[in-house]
Amino acid sequence: MSVELIIVSHSSKLAEGVVELAQQMAEDVRLHAVGGTDEGGIGTSFDRVQQAVEASGDAVVLCDLGSAVMTAESVIDFLDDDARARIRLADAPLVEGAVAAAVAAQSGGSLDEVLAAAESAAGSA
């Protein structure tokens, strides 16, 4: 099973668009779009990030803004040690990091390799 990606954004369209873009270059990778608040507004949803994390295997989380990062970190804090060991939070630009990470996951990269791919992504190729 390849490493999965969880895309956390304030906008559901933005999260879905990132998944759409990254999926193109990584057909077999599971990509989770988690965007918007529970009411469909602009913001982040702790509960849906938590559901995505619980529904995933090894996964790298990418976020759009600082408040999304804090939401993701809170979710990770609530995980038990086993679950926490399979989740990494990337410090990466959202779109560029997601594409690079998706390609790394598609080629069978390990959790830390996929994380490194996200974090070394800079501009567009």
Partner: protein, 206 residues
């Protein structure tokens, strides 16, 4: 408020926060519109409305009340203040675990736990123009008051006064964390919305 915060008094305090936040929604939104995205009032009102609905339940002790506030805020606020206040109430509740009621020292322990939680969650320091600038002086004032033997009510008052001053002192500085950090020098002269809501939370029992 009494000299100690038992479970019922803790619930009353949280209800009072809900009322103050509802009253101040527009004010918080205006501050956030100036140096953020204009949703802090709505975020806080939504969060504390959900919290208030939960307060009719049964609670074993203050910790359980405060933990319910934490998980409810974290799930309903939808902005940076969700994980921040969620962490504040969670770490604060953990600091008073096992106490049937909070005396002055208990309230100070809660506020210190909350302040350290916010600081860790936000990776922010004093002077970054965030709610940390209200929480940190509040924790210091609370500890000093408790050390002087102040009761729960007096410790909370001391914390609230320090938080209010801390919120005001966010005005002349630039932001290094949160959305206002995008503004650079243009954030100068404007109060941080999260520091302001922290002052209201700690001052709600007055």
């Amino acid at each position: 408020m009494a000299g100690v915060l038992d479970t019922a008094a803790t619930v009353s305090w949280i209800r009072a926060i809900g009322a103050v936040i509802a009253e101040q929604e527009q004010h918080l939104t205006t501050l956030d519109r100036t140096i953020g995205d204009g949703d802090h009032g709505a975020n806080m009102r939504r969060g504390f409305a959900a919290v208030t609905e939960k307060l009719d339940g049964e609670f074993a002790d203050p910790e359980e009340v405060l933990k319910t506030v934490a998980t409810t805020l974290i799930s309903t606020v939808g902005g940076a203040s969700g994980p921040l206040y969620g962490t504040a109430f969670l770490k604060g509740s953990m600091a008073v675990k096992g106490r049937a009621e909070l005396d002055g020292a208990g309230v100070a322990a809660f506020i210190r736990g909350a302040a350290d939680g916010v600081k860790a969650r936000g990776k922010a320091e004093a002077g970054d123009k965030t709610m940390v600038d209200a929480w940190l002086p509040a924790a210091e004032a609370a500890e000093a008051a408790a050390a002087d033997g102040a009761d729960a009510q007096a410790v909370l008052s001391a914390a609230a006064a320090a938080a209010r001053k801390g919120a005001e002192e966010t005005e002349p500085i630039v932001a290094r964390k949160g959305r206002a950090s995008y503004l650079g020098e243009r954030a100068i002269g404007h109060r941080d919305p999260g520091a302001e809501s922290t002052a209201f939370i700690l001052g709600a029992a007055e």
